[in-house]
């Protein structure tokens, strides 16, 4: 399990590098790396049962990776191709998988928090032994939904863990401009919920805290975990973080408090891993990622008319008419559209 967690952190780091570069080359439209927060994501997911439901914000790719979401599926989603299980509807990195109990990501910050509470309430009534964990950043914690969710989880006694990744920045906004109190953990007492602050770059600390929180949540007592970490990468591919923070600051965290390097030291001290194995693993996983990446790139985009699917469970008449209208239009004007990239209509 220790090795699995480590290998997943490395895989995540490599996947981030490849996909980040591919965005720079214009091959995908958008990307958002997880660099520096690998331990916070993977350590916490490892502390759960595999059937516990996870709601994420968007910087929790490691969590889905740990649950076994295939590499190809990440790539298919980023390309929005015909094999994307999300149907190609959302921007890259908005992953989801019912099979892996990971609710589809949406861009709207903190909206997942009261939803996680509602799902936890459903589990409590079903007495199915499952809990819910909801990830969010320290910036999202300023949204009204975060307040509503923690208050409801407390009053309605729901088996839920709120997992905050406090990485110091919300895009360009430092935490000093985000809150005046004692971080996110400081809020929990006011809501009457259990709380712990952990070193988010210490995989073992994150794992232990989550495992203990899960025990408490099982008693229908909500728990807040604040994992202190640092966002090593840019906020996203649409952001240049050098305009609001210094390279020195980034380098200090990169060199002195890197979660992957820290856990590797633990493994090597235990004699469970060595430099050769590390090198071999990195090369192997890089090949696998590249293979999945190149495969996904070749898959055509979904059928154009599938754009009208899943608005409702059934397709109402007005949508059927609009779908037919587009099909008719493309018959006449198709040459002005990127038809060849998409599966036939």
């Amino acid at each position: 399990m220790a090795l699995k967690m480590y290998q997943n952190m490395v895989t995540l780091y490599q996947m981030d590098k490849i996909l980040y570069d591919s965005q720079r080359q214009g091959r995908i439209s958008f990307y958002l790396t997880n660099t520096g927060e690998e331990a916070a994501q993977i350590g916490s997911t490892a502390g759960l049962n595999d059937t516990d439901l996870i709601y994420g914000q968007y910087r929790e790719t490691g969590s889905l990776l740990y649950r076994g979401f295939p590499l190809e599926n990440f790539m298919h989603q980023c390309y929005g191709n015909a094999k994307d299980i999300g149907g190609g509807k959302q921007m890259p990195i908005h992953y989801g998988s019912s099979e892996h109990h990971f609710v589809t990501i949406s861009s709207t910050l903190a909206t997942q928090l009261p939803q996680a509470v509602g799902s936890a309430y459903a589990f409590k009534r079903e007495k199915n032994g499952r809990i819910v964990l909801a990830y969010f950043g320290e910036g999202a914690a300023s949204e009204g939904d975060a307040h509503g969710a923690m208050n409801m989880a407390s009053t309605l006694k729901c088996p839920v863990i709120f997992f905050c990744r406090n990485n110091g920045y919300a895009i360009s906004t430092p935490t000093t401009e985000q809150y005046g109190g004692d971080g996110i953990a400081g809020k929990a007492i006011g809501y009457g919920i259990h709380v712990i602050r952990v070193d988010g770059n210490d995989l073992i600390a994150v794992y232990n805290a989550t495992k203990a929180a899960r025990q408490i949540a099982m008693e229908n007592e909500p728990v807040l975990i604040e994992a202190m970490t640092y966002r090593l990468g840019h906020h996203s591919t649409s952001d240049d973080s050098t305009t609001y923070r210094s390279n020195e600051e980034v380098n200090i965290w990169q060199q002195n408090d890197n979660p992957i390097a820290r856990f590797r030291t633990v493994l090597q001290n235990k004699g469970w891993w060595n430099d050769e194995e590390d090198m071999a693993y990195r090369q192997k996983v890089q090949k696998e990622i590249m293979k999945a990446f190149l495969y996904a790139e070749k898959i055509p985009k979904p059928n154009i008319l599938s754009m009208f699917d899943d608005v409702y469970k059934e397709m109402p008449k007005n949508l059927q008419e609009q779908r037919d209208e587009l099909a008719e239009h493309l018959k006449n004007y198709g040459k002005y559209y990127p038809m060849k990239d998409f599966e036939g209509t």
Binding site: G88, Q90, V103, Q115, A122, G144, K313, E314, K317
Partner: protein
């Protein structure tokens, strides 16, 4: 966002004592129940809603009912007796937080539970706008049908009440009809309210169900006591006519019927009155068929005129019935102001304004 007990009490009293209302009075026109639905009982709109929720909870043990003050029976008494019958884990109060209520309901529905969320007044649904528009409406679409919140229904009291002022009178349906993925439903009386609410609760899409609060006690009908559903997305021709089509929904449907009666008696103009019932997705076929017959269309709603749902109906009918229209389509709606307190009688699209509009349409010269 919560309303004080004083305001609620005065609103309830207001419905009991129509004589002190500043609003133009409405005459409720009862409907006949479908005899095939069996045994009937006298119910007002509140009781019909209560009865629908009771049946829904009895037939599906995953169903939860929650919101502000629903546990003791609700500020309009729509949920009375339900906590005693189904338990505190199925009928419960939430903290005062509309965005939390909507988000919580979505979460329940995502896990397959049936969620009936109450927003105390439609005027206070806006804090939940993000959860409804960005989340509930888009859940199935954005996930490629991996996840959905189809089992969510949001109920909210709706429409003018006599002296509700700015924040106890609003009709916000048009804000939601601009959102693909939602169903928006407004009933005009107890029989319909029960059938439509049961359909919304059991429908596999997130539904917003607006309850005309002026009718909670004023509207009484013989409602079938059994379990029945009324089909969504279907308009109903409430009164047949040949000269003019009048389309409306909710409380205003009764104002339209009243106006139709007056013009029929006074000047012999025959109006066909259509209750839209489902505002999104709406039943263009029934409306267009009627306009092709009458050649005239009036749409009337309480909400402000600019970008109100009448604008959508008007445009669509104009596209579909261009050669049949003998006069411009007319909209009789609230003015483009916030909903005022003492001016309510002059703000609302009264039957006199509808009568005037009908006369103008009939006299229209090419």
């Amino acid at each position: 966002m919560a309303t004080t007990g004083y305001v609620i009490k005065s609103l309830i009293n207001l419905i009991k004592i129509p004589s002190i209302r500043y609003a133009s009075g409405i005459t409720f026109v009862p409907s006949q129940a479908d005899p095939s639905h069996g045994e009937i009982s006298r119910m007002n709109l509140c009781q019909a809603i209560n009865n629908a929720i009771d049946i829904a909870m009895g037939s599906d043990s995953s169903t939860c009912l929650f919101g502000e003050d629903v546990a003791f029976g609700g500020v309009f008494r729509c949920t009375i007796g339900l906590q005693a019958k189904y338990g505190k884990d199925r009928v419960f109060n939430t903290p005062i937080c509309e965005q939390g209520i909507a988000g919580f309901g979505i979460g329940l529905a995502v896990c397959g539970s049936t969620a009936i969320a109450e927003i105390q007044f439609a005027d206070y649904i806006f804090p939940a706008f993000d959860q409804i528009v960005n989340e509930a409406a888009k859940y199935r679409y954005r996930s490629g049908n991996l996840f959905n919140c189809g089992k969510l229904t949001i109920r909210a009291t709706w429409g003018a009440v006599g002296h509700g002022g700015l924040y106890h009178s609003q009709s916000p349906e048009a804000y939601f009809t601009h959102t693909p993925g939602l169903k928006v439903v407004v009933p005009r009386g107890p029989i319909q309210a029960k059938g439509l609410l049961l359909s919304c609760i059991r429908n596999e899409n997130p539904c917003i169900f607006f309850e005309p609060k002026l009718l909670y006690r004023a509207a009484v009908e013989d409602v079938p006591i059994g379990d029945y559903e009324t089909e969504l997305e279907q308009a109903e021709v409430v009164k047949e006519g040949k000269d003019i089509t009048v389309v409306s929904w909710g409380t205003q449907l009764h104002v339209a019927l009243d106006a139709a009666k007056v013009v029929e008696e006074e000047i012999g103009v025959s109006c066909e009155v259509i209750d839209l019932r489902t505002i999104l997705p709406w039943d263009i076929d029934t409306v267009a068929k009627s306009v092709q017959k009458t050649g005239h269309l009036i749409i009337t709603h309480e909400a402000p005129i600019t970008s109100g749902f009448a604008a959508e109906i008007s445009t669509k009918v104009q596209e579909r019935c261009f050669f049949h229209l003998e006069a411009p389509i007319s909209r009789v709606c609230g003015w483009d102001t916030p909903f005022p307190h003492i001016f309510e009688p002059f703000y609302l699209p009264t039957k006199w304004r509808i009568i005037e509009a009908i006369k103008k349409l009939i006299d229209f010269q090419h």
